[in-house]
Every structure is written in structure tokens, then in C-alpha cells.
């Protein structure tokens, strides 16, 4: 029988993978994908709690998160495109103009 714990653990694993991806990847594109993983992890725990507690507020919030994630991706990808046009690179390390 698959219980709440399994979902939470899976959500935690997804979250850890996402954090690791954000911190280690050098490509902005990869960072964006990792961010999506973070969102998916939190969505999963929301839905799991909602299902097991019989409270649908959690599912409602998930819709909002998906909405925000879509907007975020749109803006994020636009930034990546512009970054590539202006600097001909999508490596995060190459952007150091604001360093002191």
C-alpha cells in the first residue's frame, strides 16, 4: 500500500535533485529546468496532503503554482533568448558585469 510517506519522500527527492541542479549547472537553461523540478516537488506534496487529508485547498493552490510556473518559464526563456542575443552565451558564469 502506497501511503502519504512515499509521496513526501518522492517530493523530497525531487526537491533535492532540483536544488542540486540549480547549484551545480552552469547553463541558464539547465537552471530553469531545475527550477521546474522544485516546483513539481512542491506541487506533488500539496496534492498528496490534499488527497490524504480530504482538503481540496491544496489542489487549488497547485493550479496557482502551475500558472505562476508557466509565466516564469515564459519570462525566463525570454531572458535566455535576450542573453544569447546580447552576449552570445547562455553560461551563467560568463555574466559578471555587476561584480564589484
Amino acid at each position: 500500500m502506497i501511503g502519504l510517506t512515499h509521496y513526501i519522500v518522492l517530493s523530497g527527492i525531487l526537491f533535492a535533485i532540483g536544488v542540486t541542479g540549480v547549484m551545480t549547472s552552469r547553463s541558464v537553461l539547465k537552471i530553469l529546468i531545475s527550477l521546474e523540478l522544485l516546483l513539481a516537488a512542491s506541487n506533488l506534496s500539496f496534492v498528496a496532503f490534499s488527497r490524504f487529508n480530504g482538503d481540496y485547498t491544496g489542489q487549488l493552490i497547485v493550479f496557482f503554482v502551475i500558472l505562476v510556473a508557466a509565466a516564469e518559464v515564459a519570462v525566463g526563456l525570454a531572458i535566455v533568448v535576450l542573453m544569447y542575443r546580447n552576449f552570445s552565451t547562455i553560461q551563467a558564469d560568463d555574466l559578471k558585469d555587476l561584480k564589484w
Binding site: 536544488v19 540549480v22 547549484m23 537552471i31 559578471k96 555587476l98 561584480k99 564589484w100
Partner: protein
């Protein structure tokens, strides 16, 4: 019944004139002067109406009318007028003598390109002065008091391109500022004692009812602080230094401000608020002695002065001293009586001096004038009348009013009586000196060497627009003693008979003064023979008892030294440690923290994650 409208019109018409000149006529000499003269004449006519109504008993002797201005729960400030015989008499002086001077200025300033500005200032001044006279409360009075100071500053420094005139304006303003600080403190102290909460009042009539119940010691302090303002405005020792320098202004200004009205404001204030001073013997004694000292000192200074306007300025100081002394001897009637007659003949003397200066193309040294009586007969004779009135010769107006003061002093304080008598002797002497030297035609001098040949242009009589006001004022100076001024001022007061002893002594002293001056100056020497006769005293008098030097030393060494100390404190403590200290801390911490900006996105993300974890940790442990 006098309607409040008339009082308000009296007050506001010069202000309206000033506004019209400033807005429309700054380029028109003719219209600006006509507007200003019309403004003051409207005031004069209104004053005459009030005068006749009170005189004939058609109106209450005293009435007031107020408009609410500021209302904060415990503090009510009103703008109002309080009309009583004292105020109306003073208004007669301000607007009557003022009208004569305004008309005269039209002639005197005819050649000056900035005449419109002059008339705007004059109107502003008349407005401020009438405001002082009519105010029914201390706050309004203080505002107009300051306005008078301001317009005086503007008029003294009217020829601002001349450094001495600009300096004199600043000096007058600064000296008055010192005095007005005390005055304001006195007003506020009096207000704080006048009741509790909303019952407190600045109004004169309200104060009159509560003053008897006040603590006499605090009241003495308040009274002396109020007297500070008088010392400044009426130029008493030790704040008299500004008045002689104020002669840098155009001569009509000297006549209007520094003889007839502005300096009289202090005396008027004492008389108007005499109910405060009346029960305070200590305060009155101080006032009487300050007045006596001023009267005597200024008279001695006038003896060695060579500038015609400055001689008159010192005589004004001296006469003001006598008035203050009269107030200090509990005689507001005598003080105000002398103020009124003095305004007549002092304005006359100043306008006469202005006529001479105008005729001689701005020559003010009396040793460069000679035999003017022949060349300028109208000016000369009216000047003679003014001289005799000031010297106190029977039966001119100065005799009657000065005699009342002397009689008062004779009864109450013999020391001050003798000081005042010597002062009148000196007054007669220096006025005689001025007249003999500048006006008296003598043959003893080489005939071709008259004043006319000392200048490129001969002296000439002034135009009628200047001589008619002179004649008007001369008539007032002659009859001023007979028209019942004291009776109008204080109808219920007891009028003592003429004190024969005092009258005879003062007449003898005055005649002796004139005779001595004739003995010395009658033959018109080339230089002042007093210079050698007075010996060691002469330089002391010439340097005005070193008051200016003392104040100069005080400002230069004491005040400047203190300022330097404060500057040093500011530079080292406040700027170096305070201001630079804080900027230093911000800079140093910035220097350290900016190394955190590595530019590596992953590093930021790492810090962010650790931060979140840390916050999570705190939340969990708190639970």
C-alpha cells in the same frame, strides 16, 4: 460714535498706497508721490474725524474693535484697534507731521531717480507706525514694532550704494534686534502670568484688570523686559548708538522716523501700558535714571558734533531721555505732552536742515555754512523758531512741555531735576552754536568768503513745496503750548499750576546757554574754539564716550572669539567625529561586504539555499 471703520481706514490707507505704488507706479515719480501723499492725507482726515468726535464728546472716550485671527485652544490672537485720547493724540502727530513730511519729500527727493521706491517705503513706514499706535494687544503691537524696524532699515539704507548708509541700516536693525529680544520675552512673561489656560490674554484692557493681582517681583522683571524694547526703539543708553548713524538716510526720513514718530514709539508704548509700570517703584526708578543719563549724555555729545543732522539726532536722543525720565517719574502726561510738542519742532528742525542740505547740494558740515539766514530767509526763520522751541524759550511750545517735566522732577527727584536742567542749558547752548555758526549773518568774516563762494553753486531758497510744510510746522511749534494738549490727553488728571521757581530757573538756564554760545560763536570763528578749551574731555566726547569702540571690541574680540571656539568645536567634534565618523563606518563596512559580490550565480544560489535551510531550522527549533 466713532465707527471702527474710520480707525481701520486710518490704519490701512497708507498700506494701500504702498501696494498701489509697488504694483503700478514704480516708474512714475508723479503718480507714486501723489498716491503716497493721498494715502497719508486720508489717514490724517480720519484722525481728525476721530479727534473731533472725541473732543466734542460725541463718542465714547475709549472703544475697541477686534477681528479673530488665530484660535488654538489655549491661545487666542486677535487683530484689533483700541482708540482712546492717547492714541488719537499720537495719531495726530504721526499723520499730521507725517503729511507735512510726505509733501516736503516730494520736493526734497525730486532729483532722485528712485523716488517711487522712497514713497513706497515711506507709506509702509506710516502704516507700521499707525499700527503700533492703534494696536489693542501686545502681539499685534510687536508685529508692527518689527515692521517699523524693517521700514526704518529700508529707509536708512535707502541710498544703499553708499557703504556707510548700508552699514547704518544694518546697525539700526541689529541694535533693535537685541532690544526686541528682551521685549518679546517681556510680552510672553506677561502673557504667561495673565491667567490660566484660555484666560490668558495679550489684550491691554484685559491685562489692565489682572495686573494688580500679579506677583510684583515677576511683574517687575516683565516690566523691565518690556522696557528693553523701549530702550532700543527710543534709543536710550546703552542702545542709543544706532540713532546718530541713522542720519545716513535721506533727511525727510530722519525727520519722520528718527525725530517725530518711530523713536516716539517707545515713549508711546510706556504711556499706553503705563498701568503695568505704575505700581512698580523699582522699575520706574530704573526707567527714570536711564532717561536722565541718556538726556545728559546725548546733550554733551551734541556740543562737539559738526554735522548738522547729527547735532539734531543727539538733541532728539536727549529729548527722548527727558520723556523717558518723565515716564519714570510716573508722569505719562508730561512725557506724552513733550513728545507731541517735540514732534512738531524736531520735524521742523530736520526739515529745515534738509532744506539747507538741499540748498547747499548735500553739504552737512556746519563749519562750511555761513550766514544762511540771508540766503534762505524762510528756512532760516523757521529754523530759528524750531531752535527757540527746542531750547525752551517762553512762550514757544517746548517751554511748556519741558517745564512740566522739570516741575515733575523738581517734586520727586532733585538729582534728576538738576541733570535735566543742565541738559536744557546744554540744549540751548548747542542749538545756539548751530544757529550762530550756520545761519547768523556776520560781517566779521571776509565778505567774499561766505559759504556761497566755498561751493561752486550759491545757496538758494528751497521751492514752495518744501517751505510750506516748514511754515505749517513752525506755526504748530509756536502754538503747541496753548491748544490744550494735556487736557485732551488726560481730561480727568489734575493739572498743577505753572511752578514759578522751575519756570524761572529753566528760562534763565536756557537764555544763559544761548548767551554763552553767542559769546563763543557769535563772531563766527573759522574753527571750533571749544576744541582747545575742553582739553582732555574733547576727544572723549568726539568719540561718543567710546560706546562704538566698546561694542566694536566686544564684537571683534569676545563674540568673534566665541564664534571661533564654536567653529573649532564644530570642525573637530561634530564634523570629524560625528559626520565623518558615520560615513567612515558605512564606507568601511561596504569595503568588507563588497567582496561577497562574486558574480557567480551558483554561489548566490548556494547562499540562498543555506539561508532558507537556516530559517527552516530556526522555525523548527522554535516550535
Amino acid at each position: 460714535m466713532v465707527s471702527p471703520c474710520i480707525a481701520w481706514t486710518t490704519l490701512l490707507s497708507p498700506l494701500v498706497a504702498c501696494a498701489i505704488i509697488t504694483l503700478f507706479f514704480l516708474r512714475s515719480k508723479l503718480w507714486s508721490s501723489l498716491t503716497a501723499i493721498a494715502g497719508i492725507l486720508v489717514s490724517f482726515v480720519c484722525t481728525l474725524i476721530m479727534f473731533s468726535q472725541i473732543y466734542h464728546g460725541h463718542s465714547a472716550v475709549e472703544f475697541q474693535h477686534s477681528i479673530n485671527w488665530i484660535n488654538i485652544d489655549a491661545l487666542t490672537i486677535v487683530l484689533g484697534v483700541l482708540v482712546n485720547p492717547l492714541a488719537v493724540m499720537m495719531l495726530m502727530v504721526v499723520t499730521g507731521v507725517g503729511s507735512a513730511i510726505f509733501i516736503y519729500s516730494r520736493g526734497y527727493m525730486a532729483d532722485d531717480p528712485s523716488m517711487p521706491r522712497f514713497f513706497a517705503y515711506l507709506s509702509l513706514f506710516a502704516f507700521s507706525m499707525i499700527g503700533i499706535v492703534l494696536s489693542n494687544n501686545f502681539i499685534q503691537l510687536f508685529m508692527f514694532w518689527e515692521l517699523v524696524g524693517l521700514s526704518s532699515y529700508l529707509l536708512i539704507g535707502f541710498w544703499y550704494a553708499k557703504p556707510s548708509a548700508a552699514d547704518a541700516g544694518v546697525k539700526a536693525f541689529m541694535v533693535n534686534r537685541v532690544a526686541d529680544f528682551g521685549f518679546l520675552c517681556g510680552i510672553l512673561l506677561l502673557w504667561s502670568m495673565s491667567g490660566i489656560g484660555p484666560l490668558r490674554s495679550f489684550n491691554f484692557t484685559d491685562l489692565q484688570t489682572v495686573v494688580p493681582a500679579m506677583d510684583p517681583h515677576m511683574l517687575t522683571i516683565a516690566a523691565l523686559l518690556l522696557f528693553c524694547g523701549v530702550v532700543g526703539k527710543s534709543a536710550q543708553v546703552p542702545l542709543h548708538v544706532w540713532l546718530a548713524d541713522a542720519m545716513e538716510g535721506p533727511t525727510p526720513v530722519s525727520a519722520l522716523i528718527h525725530a517725530a514718530t518711530m523713536v516716539a514709539a517707545g515713549i508711546y508704548l510706556l504711556a499706553r501700558t503705563f498701568f503695568i509700570f505704575e505700581p512698580l517703584h523699582e522699575a520706574l526708578t530704573v526707567i527714570a535714571y536711564v532717561g536722565g543719563i541718556t538726556a545728559f549724555m546725548a546733550a554733551t555729545l551734541a556740543v562737539v558734533e559738526n554735522d548738522i543732522k547729527r547735532i539734531l539726532a543727539y538733541s532728539t536722543l536727549s529729548q527722548l531721555g527727558l520723556m523717558v525720565m518723565a515716564l519714570g517719574l510716573a508722569g505719562p502726561l508730561q512725557g506724552m505732552y513733550h513728545l507731541t510738542t517735540h514732534a512738531f519742532f524736531k520735524a521742523l528742525l530736520f526739515l529745515g536742515a534738509g532744506s539747507v542740505i538741499y540748498g547747499l547740494h548735500h553739504e552737512q558740515n556746519i563749519w562750511k555754512m555761513h550766514g544762511l539766514l540771508k540766503q534762505m530767509p524762510i528756512t532760516g526763520f523757521t529754523f530759528l523758531i524750531g531752535t527757540l522751541a527746542l531750547a525752551g524759550i517762553f512762550p514757544l511750545s517746548g517751554f511748556w512741555s519741558k517745564d512740566e517735566i522739570l516741575a515733575l522732577a523738581f517734586e520727586h527727584n532733585k538729582l534728576l531735576y538738576w541733570a535735566a536742567s543742565i541738559t536744557s542749558g546744554l540744549t540751548a547752548f548747542y542749538m545756539g552754536r548751530l544757529f550762530w555758526v550756520a545761519f547768523w549773518p556776520t560781517g566779521s568774516r571776509r565778505d567774499g568768503q561766505t559759504s556761497s563762494s566755498k561751493h561752486d553753486h550759491p545757496a538758494h531758497e528751497s521751492p514752495a513745496i518744501m517751505t510750506v510744510p516748514l511754515i505749517f510746522l513752525a506755526i504748530l511749534s509756536v502754538i503747541g503750548g496753548f491748544i490744550g494738549i494735556p487736557h485732551f490727553l488726560y481730561p480727568e488728571a489734575h493739572h498743577p499750576e505753572l511752578n514759578m521757581t522751575v519756570a524761572v530757573i529753566s528760562s534763565v538756564v536756557a537764555l544763559a546757554g544761548i548767551a554763552i554760545s553767542f559769546a563763543i560763536y557769535g563772531k563766527r570763528p573759522e574753527y571750533d574754539p571749544l576744541e582747545s578749551k575742553l582739553g582732555a574731555v574733547y576727544p572723549v566726547l568726539k568719540n561718543k564716550y567710546y560706546f562704538d569702540a566698546l561694542y566694536g571690541w566686544y564684537v571683534d574680540c569676545v563674540q568673534q572669539g566665541f564664534a571661533k571656539l564654536l567653529f573649532w568645536l564644530e570642525e573637530t567634534v561634530i564634523v570629524r567625529f560625528g559626520v565623518h565618523g558615520f560615513t567612515g563606518i558605512a564606507k568601511a563596512s561596504g569595503n568588507v561586504l563588497r567582496h561577497l559580490q562574486s558574480g557567480l550565480v551558483q554561489f548566490y544560489a548556494l547562499v540562498f539555499v543555506f539561508g532558507v535551510v537556516y530559517l527552516f531550522f530556526i522555525m523548527v527549533t522554535r516550535l
